[in-house]
Amino acid sequence: MPLDLFSVGDPIADTKAPTDVPIGERWSERQFRGRLVNPANRRKLTIIVVGTGLAGGSAAATLGEAGYKVKSFWYQDSPRRAHSVAAQGGINAAKNYRNDGDSVHRLFYDTVKGGDFRARENNVHRLAEVSVNIIDQCVAQGVPFAREYGGLLDNRSFGGTQVSRTFYARGQTGQQLLYGAYQALERQIAAGNVEQNARTEMLDLIIVDGRARGIVARDLVTGEISTHFADAVVIASGGYSNVFYLSTNAKGSNTTAIWRAHKRGAYFANPCYTQIHPTCIPVKGDYQSKLTLMSESLRNDGRVWVPKERGDTRDPREIPESERDYYLERIYPSFGNLVPRDIASRQAKNVCDEGRGVGPGGLGVYLDFAEAIERMGRPAVEAKYGNLFDMYAQITGEDPYATPMRIYPAVHYTMGGLWVDYDLQSTIPGMFVIGEANFSDHGANRLGASALMQGLADGYFVLPSTISSYLADGPFDKVDDSHPAAVEAVQGVQEQVQKLLSINGTRTPASFHREVGQLMWDYCGMERTDEGLRKAIDRIQEIRKEFWTNLKVTGDWHSFNQTLEHAGRVADFIELAELMCIDALHRRESCGGHFRAESQTPEGEALRDDENFAYVAAWEWTPEGQPPVLHKEDLVYEYVHLAQRSYK
């Protein structure tokens, strides 16, 4: 590999999981070996929590209940807006309520395998263990999960698993789980245990004597830049799919909190691991601001096809059966339209690259329910998929009962994130990272209904337990605004904000965001090549230069200025994009959602390279002009045997 793009540093290892006991005992053993904080001492300890999604909201509430002083931060007006609210499908738990052979071990096994053997066994096993407690907690909070007529909880099979372990609340599971955490958080705010900081964005981390001790934040309403201090900092700021500009994330979802922590020394793990969801509504035009996901359950009855001929612009209903290519059924006769997310996405890209895509720009494939409507009858299709069909009609103005829907893949989750050990602590002592913001549990590919499980596992159960080991050494020496580390951090933030406003060029933040996003989609999306990634890296460096010389942001910093907010986030996305491409370039294997063109089987399927790449790539930031440093954490599989996935 070229040493100009990165260098290799010392290996890194998780030292916290007690590997001297069997995997099923490690979590309880870790809790036993960890140190505790006496309840009377907890009120002397302050914890900052950034973000109020499933992970941050549940953590802030739980830490408040435990008696710590918590300071909670979110950029929206209310904690209830966090993007966890948009998760549709469900949450996995190894309850085995269906008596179908599920168990903690099976959920563990499925998740390690589903992650294409790039996740840590210890973390995943703990996730599976804790999953059952999450359901108990949420039900007690009043989360209205779907129920059977007997009054007990309903389950469904999700994402191709053979057991029914997914709990759900219609198509709004994330919303309902988030409101459970939100209400618990509001209860703690009312009780005075949690300080609320609405519309406040973290812009830097303050490190004192090697420990994370606070943050610099900007009040988005007044523009005021302020410092906040604590004995520990928890980052729960979500994923970074918006580096692609178009994704299914909320418009405000950003990488700023984790990226700035990365620049302060936190290693960033597997940044190139992103998940691309196959059943989203395609792009309509240049003005497109976001993409909308439709549940992949649609593939249970819909058939995916494109015309056999390139450039066939006929009305799909006029294309005879003999001139259609049901390509998933053709290539994967045994799984057909139900192949995993990564394969469905990549094949859609392939047929569009061949010029057989449909709709505006040729970036779409048909998802056809004509056969299902004939077989099941329209009322049955309506009952099963009505809300999704309505959503499609609302957005596209087309009637999916009359004509096939058009779908295209879109980025919707990032498995990569800040590196954490088993205690969820980053490489900066005292800074913990939870939920999608960390890298820990999903390897190279996340299974359906696992994101909600991980967010709540981290926030309700794991972090509140592990953080006490760290805090047992506290409270730490008092720090205030006058500390040199705080002064330096505040100054850096002020300088950046002023710089963004002073360039006065000719391009808006959105135009840079679109450009870098398109580049990432083209070269660091579903399929990557050595050549393409190098081209992208060169181009990103140029975009970065242009950004800092030709950006235009109106207004001032001491008021509500959404353009300024966006500009700061785009600056971080551009830097992250480069690291993602370097990570993708160095990982010369196909795994999970990442198809590396140079690593494929003779049949053109993804080829993993366990011999050379069975490790976590943890990247260390280096000052301007120096390449990032790669630290490898070897992945050891003691309980699940390495195997190649096959869906033929």
Partner: protein, 269 residues
């Protein structure tokens, strides 16, 4: 389902491309100054754009001209976070019963003039232009919109069965996204539908029973303290609600409130 739904395929924009519109938008620099309606023109607006994408187009133009873009709240842009909300031609979220982000420009015609204003209610003060402060809603939740169950104390999930009908009705009420359209649509600026949705959600579940009386009296007391108006059963709230929260929730709240007061429950001061 949209009224103007087309059954054609391909790019529907081809058939109805390039609308020119006049926008009259509320501009207010901050809460301390008076706002006013300002007129803008936008051209070549695709009917496939969402309403917020149309505002994005306007804002890109304004930034490049060196003018202050229009501030408006939004986030998920898929109708679930509740962050967006505009009065469009005098209707909360515009002419369709959906969130502003899910309203599309095909609901308008070439040459239309569109009035765009923020939510109007004194408990929702304007922050800037079209963005308002809705933290009053969070304070109503803080007053009792929860079940007190510290993490780790929960019994086994199947310990208490919940009749499916109750669970389904609780879910319907729980779908409230807290956008504030109910308040904006109400001539009294009442938050009754918002409060009633939470009282109904939690009151229908066995888990919500121990705090049922205290919850309703405290949440009502808080919404009064915030300055929301009284409910006179007009029903504009439910008609504007993007999630279709029903007026029955208000009946249930009134029933619960009466029961709670009879039982001696009184709000915390």
């Amino acid at each position: 389902m949209t009224a103007s739904m087309q059954s054609s395929v391909g790019n529907p924009a081809d058939e109805k491309r390039g609308m020119n519109l006049t926008l009259r938008i509320w501009r207010q620099k901050d809460p301390s100054v008076k706002g006013k309606m300002v007129t803008y023109k936008v051209t070549d607006i695709s009917p496939d754009m969402s309403f917020l994408e149309m505002l994005d187009v306007l804002n890109e133009q304004l930034i490049l001209q060196g003018d202050d873009p229009v501030a408006f709240d939004h986030d998920c842009r898929e109708g679930i976070c509740g962050m967006c909300g505009l009065m469009i031609n005098g209707q909360a979220h515009g002419p369709q019963q959906t969130t502003t982000c899910q309203l599309h420009m095909r609901s308008f015609s070439d040459g239309d003039s569109i009035d765009i204003e923020p939510w109007r209610a004194s408990p929702f003060p304007v922050i800037k232009d079209l963005a308002v402060d809705r933290r009053a809603f969070d304070r109503i939740i803080q007053a009792g919109g929860y079940i007190s169950v510290p993490t780790g104390t929960a019994p086994e999930a199947h310990a208490t069965p919940v009749p499916k009908a109750d669970a389904d009705a609780a879910f319907d009420a729980a779908t409230c996204i807290g956008c504030g359209a109910c308040v904006a649509a109400c001539p009294n600026a009442s938050s009754m539908l918002f409060t009633a949705a939470k009282v109904t959600h939690l009151g229908l579940l066995p888990q919500g029973q121990p705090e049922r009386n205290d919850r309703v009296v405290n949440m009502i007391a808080q919404q009064d303290r915030e300055g929301f108006g009284g409910c006179t059963n007009i029903g504009e709230c439910s008609a504007a609600c993007p999630k279709g929260i029903s007026m029955e929730t208000i009946s249930r709240l009134n029933h619960d409130l009466l029961g709670a007061l009879r039982a001696g429950a009184r709000p915390k001061s």
